[in-house]
């Protein structure tokens, strides 16, 4: 297209995406289309009209990621990543740095909020079949984000160099020694020494600063994948036309802002009144390599994985229990990658799956039970509960999902999103043969 140097007359949006804007914006946008892209993806973007509040958690997670990065960068201006100074530098932040206590409490409790939001976001995906065709890759990218979050949070918890920081680092890095042949070498490589120590702390700080930006990049991929086919919706049926969608702005922007304000209220209660609710008292004691705390407990969002790890107390087929525990624990996350293929249901949304609709809640109940098991010393009936809960976790994914999908008779799907929303015509519902989701 032949271009004049400035201000070609505004054409139709087809050949001038920034139509309707000032000359300056059009000049910039022709060279770097940030305005037209923003409008297309965030403002005019056609979104299913029937999303419920479970759909708020994605944008909420993105906002909390930004909060974590901003508070983290500011904290890093005052923190010293050296074993002899780390604990004291955190105390300096809490006592001497202007608003240091506030920034630290936001960062600390933000991590818990981030996991709470992401776990709810994940469960939303499981319930409504958001992982099914054509969103399999979107789901898998999400699991990658979860893995990166776990790594980031684990390393972040080590940084204050309290008793729990040090000993949780020791226990978790020691797990790699379960790998046959090369295990101990890997552990020595991770530690940079013969125990967790200053070299370990320094590299954890470097990686803890790096990983969130990798998460940002992967979130970018997550959003690109999302926008390929648009959001799923509570009915789990594809959109058929513009009557099924509404522009993202103003409807979902205001709804997201409302959801954000509710979340911030919940968050503020913890930051200002219960700031240490999620933290072990042992982490207010400086790390002492000579004294192990009575009970080593990870942060609450890692407790289910910790419980699975400890529940494999027996050897099997010549594989030692320690290695089996590691495999079971890591496997519990990696199995999420397979969900799009484990679930055989022809419909997406659990709303139309009368058995799965109820049974799906056994999973979060199971995970909470695992969390409880992880918080307790592995004695007595707690061990048995952990083993039952671990068994059910794998049963849910490997047996229940494939079998139920085939065996269950789904309810008839509505003919379209618009029809369901407008709730007009009973004959808007299709006959028995479901046509959506494969």
């Amino acid at each position: 297209m032949a271009a004049t140097s400035h201000g070609a007359p505004a054409g139709s949006p087809a050949n001038d995406p920034a139509a309707g804007h000032s000359r300056l914006i059009r000049w910039i946008d022709y060279r770097l289309p940030f305005v037209s892209v923003l409008e297309h993806e965030l403002i005019d973007y056609p979104t299913p009209r029937n999303l419920n509040y479970w759909w708020n958690f994605g944008s909420l997670a993105g906002i909390v990621l930004v909060i974590m990065i901003v508070t983290g960068v500011v904290l890093a201006m005052h923190y010293t990543p050296s074993a002899d100074l780390a604990f004291d530098s955190v105390q300096r932040i809490m006592r001497d740095v202007n608003y240091g206590w506030l920034i630290r409490y936001i960062h600390m409790n933000g991590a818990s909020m981030f996991f709470l939001i992401v776990y709810i976001h994940l469960f939303r995906g499981l319930y409504y079949g958001s992982y099914k065709y054509p969103r399999e890759l979107l789901w898998m990218i999400g699991v990658v984000i979860l893995l990166l979050m776990i790594a980031t949070a684990f390393m972040g918890y080590v940084l204050p160099w309290g008793q729990m920081s040090y000993w949780a680092a020791t226990v978790i890095t020691n797990l790699f020694s379960a790998i046959p042949v090369v295990g101990q070498s890997i552990v020595t490589l991770l530690w940079g020494g013969f125990t967790v120590g200053n070299p370990t702390l320094n590299r954890f700080f470097s990686l803890h600063y790096l990983l969130p930006f990798i998460i940002v990049a992967v979130v970018g991929l997550h959003l690109i994948a999302l926008h390929q086919h648009g959001s799923n919706n509570p009915l789990g049926i594809d959109k058929r036309g513009p009557q099924d969608t509404i522009p993202f702005h103003p409807y979902y922007t205001i709804k997201d802002m409302f959801g954000l304000s509710v979340f911030l209220l919940f968050f503020a209660i913890f930051v200002f009144y219960l700031p240490n609710a999620f933290v072990s008292p042992d982490n207010s004691i400086p790390a002492n390599p000579m004294v192990t705390p009575t009970h080593i407990v990870p942060e609450w969002y890692l407790l289910p994985f910790y419980a699975i790890l400890r529940s494999i107390t027996f050897n099997f087929l010549g594989i030692p229990s320690k290695l089996l525990g590691v495999i079971a624990s890591m496997g519990s996350i990696f199995i999420l990658f397979l969900v799009p293929w484990l679930d055989t249901s022809p419909v997406r949304s659990a709303r139309f799956r009368p058995v799965y609709r109820v049974v799906s809640f056994l999973l979060p109940i199971d995970v909470i039970a695992l969390g409880y098991v992880g918080s307790q010393p592995p004695e007595g009936w707690v061990v048995a509960l952990g083993q039952v809960a671990t068994f059910y976790y794998y049963f849910h994914f490997l047996i229940l999902m494939p079998v139920l999908g085939k065996w269950e008779r789904p309810r008839p799907l509505p003919i379209s999103i618009a029809a369901a929303v407008l709730e007009g015509n009973p004959s808007a519902f299709a006959a028995a043969t479901p046509t959506e989701g494969h």
């Binding site: 509404i246 205001i254 409302f258 911030l264 200002f272 008292p281 109820v358 809640f361």
Partner: protein, 255 residues
């Protein structure tokens, strides 16, 4: 999602949250004290803080350090800058090396940390039968029960029950895990003469020093509660306005 299932889910969450921090309790449940800083509107009582500092200074600091406390922090509990300078001046700290390369003693300044009784942990252990008196800067955060725990320990030195075998060098304490604590009972009635005339009973001294130690661990509490009130009030209003705005905008279309 079906509403009943969601309610059940939420109930399980609440139960789990209540159970989650449970750790093996080997001692009886802690008696709960009424603290001025309890609750949403709690603040520190400056008089209690000053009495508590007096107890710390005259009793506890003989064995326990509080390395994260600086003399200048004492202005937060009601002392003037001059009073703080005076308090600091009572202590000698090591400084140097001077131009001759020697370390020397000088009176402490407000910008110095409050010095501990021992130059290092090994000396501390040697002076206390191998036991290390823990640093008290964060003690109310580092123990389950916080100030209630500190109060309970200080008041928990009871007569050894019949049949209990007490190891040499320990003392029986009702609330200490395992009941055998290496610290001798530190408080006795009227041990400290409070500047404001309050009677110095053991529970009173324990109450005041626990208040002081809670401040030492969380000096931000007053500001945090005040700011929290304003932030939450703002957010409650924001929730209301955003909800109304959402309803208004969505009323444009059938939904």
């Amino acid at each position: 999602m079906p509403k009943a299932a969601f309610a059940a889910f939420a109930a399980v969450l609440v139960v789990a949250a209540a159970a989650a921090p449970a750790r093996a309790q080997e001692a009886p449940p802690l008696p709960h004290q009424a603290w001025s800083f309890d609750g949403v509107f709690g603040t520190y009582d400056p008089a209690a803080l000053q009495r508590g500092f007096q107890v710390y200074k005259e009793v506890c600091s003989a064995c326990h350090q509080a390395k994260h406390l600086y003399f200048r922090d004492l202005t937060q509990i009601g002392y003037s800058a001059d009073q703080v300078k005076g308090i600091a001046g009572q202590y000698q700290v090591t400084d140097g090396p001077n131009d001759q390369g020697q370390m020397f003693q000088r009176p402490a300044r407000p910008s110095d940390p409050i010095p501990g009784p021992f130059p290092n942990d090994e000396v501390a252990r040697a002076a206390n039968n191998g036991a290390l008196p823990p640093d008290l800067s964060l003690i109310t955060l580092a123990r389950e029960g916080g100030p209630d725990y500190v109060w309970a320990i200080l008041n928990g030195f009871t007569k050894t029950p019949a049949g209990f075998k007490l190891t040499e060098g320990t003392y029986y304490n009702e609330y200490f895990a395992g009941h055998q604590i290496k610290m001798p009972p530190p408080l006795s009635a009227s041990q400290v003469k409070f500047a404001d005339g309050t009677a110095a009973s053991v529970p009173q001294m324990a109450h005041d020093v626990a208040t002081f130690l809670n401040w030492a661990a969380e000096p931000d509490l007053d500001e945090r509660h005040q700011m929290g009130f304003k932030v939450i009030l703002f957010l409650v209003i924001a929730v209301g306005i955003f909800y109304a705005a959402k309803r208004k905008i969505w009323s444009r279309i059938p939904h």
